[in-house]
Symmetry: C3
Subunit: 347 residues, 3 copies
């Protein structure tokens, strides 16, 4: 692909690019700076990699205007190189899914299938399911009755969407994720567990990403809601009636217990956990392995278990490292005090 | 459904109900107090919600006898409202699975299939499998050779049951769970890992619930055993040769390492872990993110890592928060002592 | 099977065995010492079980030369009994998979299938996939286009291998695992998440084991690499561009964030986590629930969060338990000091 084609694509996306070099140069793929050859386009977003840029064989580089003079290769100067790299990589790597319904897919006659849809072998589409235009559904994926899938969404192989759940447009769901499994709702009577049918749904907005083997449970009465622009990594658990605010990101193996409401633009790092029935303020960030045990009223960075403001947690960690020294000090104080006491008694 | 029908159903279940109101009133669904309209039946189990009860539009409410005068709507007075709510929700939301074997299911001719069984498209039933009456098996679910499924059990789509495992009656298994995968058993010889064939099975009792993407490994030699009335949330790992006692509940993302025996009526909260080869007393409760590193001999509540009695853990957490203050105190003591020493020397 | 047959098999594997007893004795299965009957072969590797050995009904026992006189049953004396037990169990429990492609498997005509391959019902093999000799692919397993599976590898039911990934020889992949799902790569522009196509692959060596529902993400640009002889338990997450060195073992629910390089012969215990973009020295061992927040330069045992050398972590844990005592000491010191001060003033 000519750099000119990339530049035109970026312009259509509203990107402000200053280009230096030969726009007729051809690139075929993105690459890291150090592995790149002339048919690759690369990027510099981290100044630590400036040495790699100087030595790079890349045919073109996306970088910030202030780094324009570090290289003399073809340059795209933009304010957010990593974002422009993402757009370029998307352009060079379209999902090559031929529309068409595989003859081994099992589709209920009452389902509504949009235009230009790709459905893989052994996919199962239940009664009254609605599938938007340009949707891709992988092999072995099961969509139960009454579920709705918005336009251009991609469901990898072996995904499960349970009955009546609603998936927005441009959603990407990776293999093994399960949307709309029963919430963990039981009443206990004399030691016996009685299951409470979960009659809510999962409702997912637009441009949401859900990683491998993550599980989002359906609501007990009302719906579990994932707002648009949320990204969820692998092996994440989201309990029944959780609400995830717009733009929130959740890293791998984190979990959110039932009925908790997470605000907008929050971040949970890996293996973090949030207890049930709490409310988390917009723009709250939680460190890896943190455990949130109560409401979070203010935006900020939180860490540890129970989670506290990160600065406080770091101080506590430093104090913990110093415990042995402190114990020694206390011991010395005790013996010195004993000495003084005996000295005073002898006076 | 008339309230009268619900009352008769509850009576058959042995529930003692005092009813106040019009039993010919019709309700179609359960609902939360604040969202309910006259065609809904709701419940009050938490006194914090009494304000919601007063304002509720619910056509009927399940509540404790002592709250009979808070509302004048149709009332079912019972000792455990949440339990009666569960039974009512089950009655109003039966699993609507039409019996029948989908023509795209793959069933080995040697399998034994009970009465009124529902088997979805692309389900695979292996040789010598035995399926009880009233069982439902979802699309894409695989049951390997020799496995047994008890009566009325429900297997969601894309479940996997490995060879020779035994599942009891009225078990509910959610999508993506895997029963009877190999245990993690390897012998190491000069740095090379040698797999040990896991010849035990997984044996699951009656009325067990297993959530999405949870994994229960088969035994190395003897069986992994899940006793009846256990409930297991999503993304839970249960290692080989584990025994889970009657009525135990395990929340999401918790894990139990191999050969550990958990007693009856235990609770593991989210992201908790129990090490291998230990025995846990009946009625032991473990807090979120706790890590159990040894035997637990006495019923009680345990928290932290390594897990200790919760009261002790809470005291330690308070002490940790106070570390900075303590360090300041020690520093002050040191300087005061120095002063006293110099004072004594100068005398 | 006659013990003689087992002895001949072990000799072929290069094992040095001294046999005492009747090699014409027949055994049919392995067993634990206490459950064994004469048709079983058992082993003693842990001296704690010597009492069980004395009482055992086993028809033969594998044990160390120094324990030769504890029993008079048929004995195989070897330097590593657990390893020899593994080889014996493998011999007595071969995978009984009849070669053959099920008529309900869906195989793209461009795929290359080796000799003596077993492919289950509803397995899906994509375009240009290459499958080695003696491979077994379970029901419902999906292998996307361009992927390569080495000789004698076993894929359980409902596994997913995404496009272009490379799996070595003698690999064992358990149900629900997903190889080559998208890595969690997004560029953020003004609060909107933009997905970065992950163009790397997952490349897995020989003799690798991957447990149920584990997820190994494909690389962003370069590949995610799992070297030979690695073993990975259930529900493990391995992020994009991670490199796992030869012989490394990862227990259940552990996670490794993107671009981290783990050395050879490392061990991660259950629920451990390693942050992204760090390098871990060969032969580093990490305790359960540990959290590694930086590079690890030296082999050794590490624990806690943030992970520190295990001895240091244990000291800190002891100090934490002693915090209440230390606080009491400090309080006593304060009051004693006050007393001394007033005494001095009164002088």
């Amino acid at each position: 692909m000519k750099l000119q084609t990339i530049l035109e694509h970026l312009e259509k996306q509203g990107i402000d690019v200053e280009f230096l070099g030969d726009s007729s140069h051809q690139v075929s793929q993105v690459s890291g700076l150090s592995e790149a050859s002339p048919e690759h386009i690369s990027f510099l977003s981290d100044t630590k990699r400036m040495g790699e840029l100087e030595a790079s064989q890349a045919g073109a580089v996306i970088l910030k205007p202030e780094h324009r003079d570090i290289t003399s290769t073809n340059r795209l100067l933009v304010s957010n190189p990593y974002y422009v790299y993402a757009l370029t990589a998307q352009l060079l790597n379209p999902l090559n899914l031929e529309p068409g319904i595989h003859r081994k897919a099992v589709i209920d006659p009452s389902a509504t299938i949009g235009e230009s849809v790709s459905i893989g072998p052994n996919a199962v589409i239940g009664a009254n399911v609605s599938i938007g235009d340009g949707v891709s559904i992988g092999a072995g994926t099961v969509i139960e009755s009454g579920a709705q899938i918005g336009h251009r969404s991609y469901l990898a192989p072996n995904v499960t969407v349970m009955h009546d759940c609603v998936i927005g447009d441009d959603v990407r769901m990776e293999s093994g994720c399960v949307i709309g499994g029963e919430g963990f709702g039981f009443a206990n009577e004399k030691g016996e567990w009685h299951h409470i049918p979960q009659i809510g749904r999962v409702v997912i907005g637009d441009r949401v990403y859900i990683g491998n083997n993550s599980t989002i449970n359906r609501g007990a009465i009302n719906d579990t809601v994932i707002e648009s622009n949320c990204i969820i990594d692998c092996l994440v658990q989201i309990g029944h009636n959780v609400k995830l605010g717009y733009g929130t990101a959740i890293a791998s193996q984190a979990g959110i217990a039932g009925s908790t409401e997470i605000g907008q633009y929050c971040v949970l790092a890996g293996q973090a956990g949030v207890t049930g029935h709490v409310t988390i303020a917009d723009q709250s960030h939680f460190g890896a392995k943190s455990g949130v045990t109560g409401h979070i009223r203010e935006a900020g960075s939180y860490s540890g278990f129970p989670a506290v403001p990160t600065a406080e947690w770091q101080r506590t960690m430093v104090r913990m490292k110093g415990l042995t020294k402190m114990a020694q000090k206390v011991k010395r104080l005790e013996s010195e005090l004993e000495e003084i006491k005996s000295q005073l008694e002898n006076n």
